[in-house]
């Protein structure tokens, strides 16, 4: 009969399949988990986990699902849909034996089982699964997991997982009742370069009431030593990241001040609207971003490539308009220029507020700029900061090239040095003024585009940078590109180092005070242009 043959074949296949999944767990442990006393249960879970046998997971899952039954207090069965299998071997048991009782899973056992289930994933071939497993263990793992962790640690190849896992191991060991194990853990931690190690070790040295949380004085002394070792290793990283944030702030200051170095430093125009030109650049980046999102969603990651020139030209255009409409009437009257440009800045700010709203707008980083590059365990350099440092350098080079290697640059320098003489030899001074002002404004726009990647973009954006950028230019010395660079980097570094020591606001105040005092000593800034004018 064909049907009978088919069913027989199916049955054989099923049997084979079943046999293929069969396993061999130590029966005493299996029984201990299902029917032992609470302590025995948890210990047995730990020992079962280490075996790493394929049946463990199925068994634990069944326990959590409540489908495990104990036959006559001896044999543990997985019962599902009237089918039963031996939990220790996976063999099918039919018919169902008499006197079945549900295995009791109390909360403590449930917790141990769940953490064990998580831990089992430590040896999964999938990296993401292993990472998730480590994360669950970080929330708290029992001592029974130690053998498994050790096993996983030995097999682990991924450095990130390995590091977290080692830390989990140490934290479990530190909670152990066994003083020797705690001692070993403390010693092992001395070699760690993970910043979290510090909290772990500090926890040992903390006092709880009258007693230390670590009762053994020898271990405490060892912990002290390990802490020192870890700290000295970490401090290198901290130094590096401090220097990096200093350079990063310096590059931002440089970008904000470079445009001013042209308009104020070279042309002598006090442009209080410089901050608002930065803001215009940032909002251009925002508009380009939105255009890309709606029109070219596929190329969204590359919107910055379009935003950079857009920001430059938008700000340059606004700047040139201002120069033609207002500033050119005020050359040689710096105080009046200051007031008029302040008025311009108010108008620009209020226009943006009316047009885009008073709230900050959101400018998203492209994917390739998010995240960072890890150079040490506790040093991650964010990509957006790295990119901005590079960008500032590029802008600086471009400006240097424009000013020293092009005809426009030659004209700008000529007009700066002697306007009437330049005019006599045929330099169109009015046009040079407009173009130079446009260039300075455009660079402000570039700064705004860069700032949109790291901070809030709002109508008040410019106000935050105007005092800083003037400080940079004044400190560096008017009319000097090199001075601007040194001043920006120096201020950025000084600010960050002071910040670590005294807090952000006091650092800022100290810097301002320093500049005020410095200017008394060297009124022309760090790099003064030498001259013989009585009034200079």
């Amino acid at each position: 009969m064909p049907t009978r043959t088919i069913s027989a074949a199916l049955g054989l296949a099923l049997l084979l399949a079943w046999a293929g999944f069969a396993w061999a767990l130590p029966a005493d442990l299996v029984l201990a988990v299902a029917a032992g006393k609470s302590d025995e249960q948890v210990a047995a879970v730990g020992r079962l986990v280490v075996s790493g046998d394929a049946g463990v997971e199925a068994y634990f899952k069944a326990l959590l699902d409540g489908t495990v039954q104990v036959a006559g207090g001896k044999r543990v069965l997985l019962v599902k849909d009237e089918q039963a299998a031996d939990a220790a071997t996976g063999e099918k048991v039919a018919p169902l034996p008499e006197g079945l009782e549900d295995a009791v899973v109390n909360n403590r056992l449930r917790g141990a089982l769940e953490s064990a289930m998580g831990a089992l994933k430590l040896i999964s071939p999938d990296r993401a699964e292993r990472l998730a497993a480590v994360k669950t263990l970080e929330d708290g793992a029992g001592e029974e997991m130690l053998p498994l962790i050790a096993k996983a640690l030995a097999a682990e190849a991924d450095p990130q997982i390995k590091k977290s896992l080692a830390l989990v191991q140490a934290s479990v060991q530190l909670k152990s009742a066994d003083a020797a194990m705690r001692m070993a853990a403390v010693k092992a931690l001395a070699a760690s370069d993970n910043p979290n190690t510090k909290t772990l070790l500090l926890g040992l040295l903390e006092k709880k009431g009258d007693n230390f949380s670590e009762p053994d004085a020898a271990i405490r002394a060892e912990a002290q030593d390990s802490l020192k070792a870890v700290q000295s290793r970490l401090s290198v990283g901290e130094r590096i990241s401090q220097v990096f944030t200093g350079i990063s702030l310096g590059s931002i200051l440089l970008l904000a001040a470079l445009g001013l170095a042209i308009t104020y430093g070279l042309m002598g125009v006090i442009n209080m609207a410089h901050g608002e030109l930065i803001m215009v650049g940032a909002y251009s980046a925002y508009v380009v971003q939105n255009l890309f999102r709606t029109q070219l969603p596929g190329l969204f990651d590359w919107y910055l490539l379009a935003a950079v020139p857009a920001a430059f030209f938008a700000s340059a255009l606004v700047g040139m308009l201002l120069e033609r409409a207002v500033i050119r009437f005020l050359y040689g009257r710096p105080l009046e220029t200051l007031l008029a440009t302040w008025g311009i800045s108010l108008i620009l700010m209020q226009s943006v507020r009316s047009f885009f709203g008073a709230q900050n707008v959101r400018v998203e980083n492209p994917v390739w700029m998010s995240g960072g590059v890890e150079i040490l365990a506790n040093v991650v350099l964010p990509w957006n900061r790295v990119v901005i440092i590079g960008f500032a350098l590029a802008v600086l080079l471009l400006m240097w090239f424009l000013l020293t290697r092009t005809r426009l640059g030659l004209f700008v320098r000529a007009v700066t040095q002697n306007r009437s003489m330049a005019s006599c030899v045929g330099v169109p001074t009015a046009r040079v003024d407009t173009l130079a002002f446009g260039l300075g404004s455009g660079i402000a726009g570039l700064a705004g585009c860069a700032l949109s990647q790291i901070g809030n973009v709002g109508p008040d954006l410019g106000q935050t940078y105007i005092v800083d950028s003037f400080m940079v230019v004044v400190l560096g010395g008017v009319g000097q590109l090199a001075g601007t660079v040194y001043a920006a980097l120096g201020l950025g570094m000084a600010n960050k180092f002071l910040e670590a020591w005294s807090g952000a606001v006091l650092a800022k105040i100290a810097i301002l005070a320093f500049i005020i005092v410095f200017i008394q000593k060297r009124p022309q800034g760090m790099f003064a242009v030498k001259g013989r004018m009585a009034d200079s």
Binding site: V326, V467, I515
Partner: protein, 379 residues
């Protein structure tokens, strides 16, 4: 003519003194009568709001006078006068805070913000501020000393022009950051408010307000006379000379540093006094008074009225601030547009301000009259 009479005529002519007297009558007789004696709703009644607004603007006018002395006459554009103003206000505020006594939210001897910060005692710089006259002394001393020390170093190293403006702006900015901190002990970004009494009188009553108003008016007139005395003196001539050609003044044997330092410090002290009058009338002082924007606004008051004419400073402060209080009620979004335009148009087209424009008009009318007279006699 006696020496006093001589001084009097040198300050103002007959017409000037009459206008001043008329102003005094308005301030010291009309306002109190119309505010306190007239029933509400009467045609001649002046509301408490108008009194408070006018009082506030008179404080600004005092600041504008100080600014005119340093900018209009000496040519130094200070972007730090908001700081001196606020410092004077804070000094008075300290006293007013102590006068709250146990009437604060927490019924503590300490001001509420200190209770909030869990402080147990006043910091040292609050000592003796419960005495009114000591606080009044601080109002003069603190801005004065700061200005003196800052000016001493700045003028000695011959910092001038825009450099000086930018440095004063940095100073103001640094102080604003400092006062925004809670740990500085001046109430952080909330500053001082909820004042209860001054010299034993409740600050919110119409009578106290009117007394403060009249006091402000008196100080304004005295400041005007003081400033006028300065600019009409030889000292004032040197100041103007410094403005127009500092090197020449120096080469003629004067040391501009002394002159600049003196007028700079005096100007700061005047600002401090104005701030001290301002705080009890407005009822609040916080670090935003020190924002760089406020200091630049002071310059525009003077520019609108007309630099180098003391009356212009008062006029400018009045015009701009009445416009501001009208705009911020009627068209709040357009106030900044208006203010911005004011900055631009005044610097471009009204370099001598309103007073200068009036003078120009008067000059033209007289020229025309003269021309007619000449033509008439020729015919």
């Amino acid at each position: 003519m006696g020496p006093l009479a001589q001084t009097v005529t040198r300050l103002y002519g007959r017409r000037g003194w009459s206008v001043l007297a008329a102003c005094a009558v308005i301030l010291f007789a009309l306002f109190p009568l119309a505010n306190l004696a007239m029933p509400k709703g009467s045609l001649f009644y002046i509301s408490d709001y108008t009194v408070a607004l006018t009082g506030k603007i008179m404080c600004y006018a005092i600041v504008a006078l100080a600014m005119d002395l340093i900018w209009g006459y000496t040519g130094i554009l200070s972007l730090g006068h908001g700081l001196f103003f606020a410092l004077g206000g804070y000094m008075m505020g300290m006293h007013l805070m102590r006068m709250i006594g146990r009437e604060g939210q927490y019924q503590s001897e300490l001001p509420d913000f200190m209770v909030f910060l869990n402080w147990k005692a006043y910091p040292w710089y609050w000592s003796f501020t419960e005495h009114f006259w000591y606080s009044a002394l601080l109002v003069v001393l603190v801005p004065g000393l700061l200005a003196f020390v800052f000016g001493f170093f700045a003028f000695r190293s011959r910092i001038k022009g825009v450099y000086f403006s930018i440095i004063t702006q940095a100073l103001t900015f640094a102080f604003m950051l400092l006062f925004f901190r809670n740990d500085t002990g001046f109430g952080g970004n909330n500053g001082f408010t909820d004042f209860k009494r001054i010299l034993g009188y409740h600050v919110a009553t119409s009578q106290t307000r009117m007394a403060l108003f009249m006091l402000t008016g008196a100080v304004l007139i005295l400041t005007l006379l003081f400033a006028r005395t300065i600019v009409a003196s030889k000292f004032g001539r040197v100041l103007t000379a410094i403005r127009d050609a500092e090197s020449r003044v120096m080469f003629s044997g004067y040391n501009p540093v002394h002159y600049k330092l003196a007028i700079w410090t005096a100007s700061a002290v005047i600002c401090g006094i104005a701030g001290a009058l301002y705080v009890p009338q407005v009822g609040i002082i916080n670090p935003s008074e020190m924002s760089p924007a406020n200091s630049i606004e002071i310059a525009i008051w003077v520019a609108v009225g007309g630099r180098g004419s003391l009356v212009g400073a008062i006029l400018g402060a009045g015009i701009v601030n009445f416009a501001k209080s009208w705009f911020t009620v009627a068209f709040p979004e357009y106030w900044l547009f208006f203010l911005g335009l004011l900055f631009i148009l005044v610097t471009l087209y009204l370099p001598q301000g309103v007073v200068g424009a009036f003078d120009e008009i008067r000059r033209r009318i007289e020229e025309r009259k003269l021309g007619q007279a000449v033509r008439g006699s020729a015919a």
